[in-house]
Symmetry: C2
Subunit: 162 residues, 2 copies
């Protein structure tokens, strides 16, 4: 996931602008900066990471404003929030990005994204059975990746330890 091309980024800013207008909220440089910061990273970020990153880039913001603005961005569906384990919430941009689920390595905390069409079917069937209007879902698979770089990897047969 890399950063968005210029024109799409312009589109995203326009969406946020329109949302603020519709809600009679103000456009501030802080809000704009926070939107840009989330979209500038291709990764999953938490509120504090954003706060620090903005600070480093001369953007004067407070944590409170970061949290507030993330709430707004959630409301206009420009970002999504994930709760992995009991850690802080992670945010990810949602515009023009595929709907996906996550695979999490318990050893190195690495995140992988995947999508399986069968989930759509599961969601529809459950909604039908329970008389629910399902708005969204969260599926996380936890386990152990087999990458070389992964610590705590169960060593293969011949791996002498120093």
């Amino acid at each position: 996931m890399s950063s968005l091309p210029q024109e799409q980024m312009a589109e995203v800013r326009a969406i946020f602008k329109a949302f603020l207008k519709r809600r009679n909220l103000r456009q501030t440089s802080e809000r704009a900066a926070i939107l840009d910061a989330v979209y500038a990273t291709g990764d999953h970020v938490d509120a504090d990471e954003l706060y620090l990153r903005l600070r480093q880039n001369d953007q004067q913001v407070s944590r409170a404003t970061v949290y507030n603005t993330l709430e707004l961005l959630l409301e206009c569906d420009l970002i999504v929030r994930h709760q992995f384990g009991k850690n802080q919430a992670k945010f990810e941009r949602a515009y023009s990005y595929w709907q996906h689920d996550h695979l999490i390595c318990l050893d190195c905390n690495e995140l992988f994204e995947f999508c399986d069409p069968r989930l759509q079917g599961v969601q529809e069937m459950v909604a039908d059975i329970y008389g629910f209007e399902v708005t969204h879902h969260s599926l996380n698979l936890y386990g152990h990746c087999q990458r070389e770089a992964c610590p705590n990897r169960p060593e293969e047969e011949a791996s002498p330890q120093p």
Copy 2:
């Protein structure tokens, strides 16, 4: 989900006892009481609920011990932990209970349990593709239930969404 029959409860206690012994941990009345308390409720409970419930029943425990013991119960797979939204973790007994996922009403916070065999397939396929050893998963569907008792229910006939 009602409470377990006597003999199964005895089995559960035996499992915990064996686990403690294997790990050279002590058997204390607090630990026993906490195990019983989780299994006594058929519902999802959080640590503080358990703490308060034990207190009410003359069981002298501290929050720290509740948290510690829940950790032990997780390690021996007698309970599972769920993270719904950003709230505190919820715990649920795991012995002799079907593996299931959750459907959560965003209006009344009611929890429903379901199971769809397709998930097994999804899990296996993703594990295969990514070279992962998947140990467990967490699938939550969020939406709006249609129950009479549910607050925030869209009133009257179905209103079309903009």
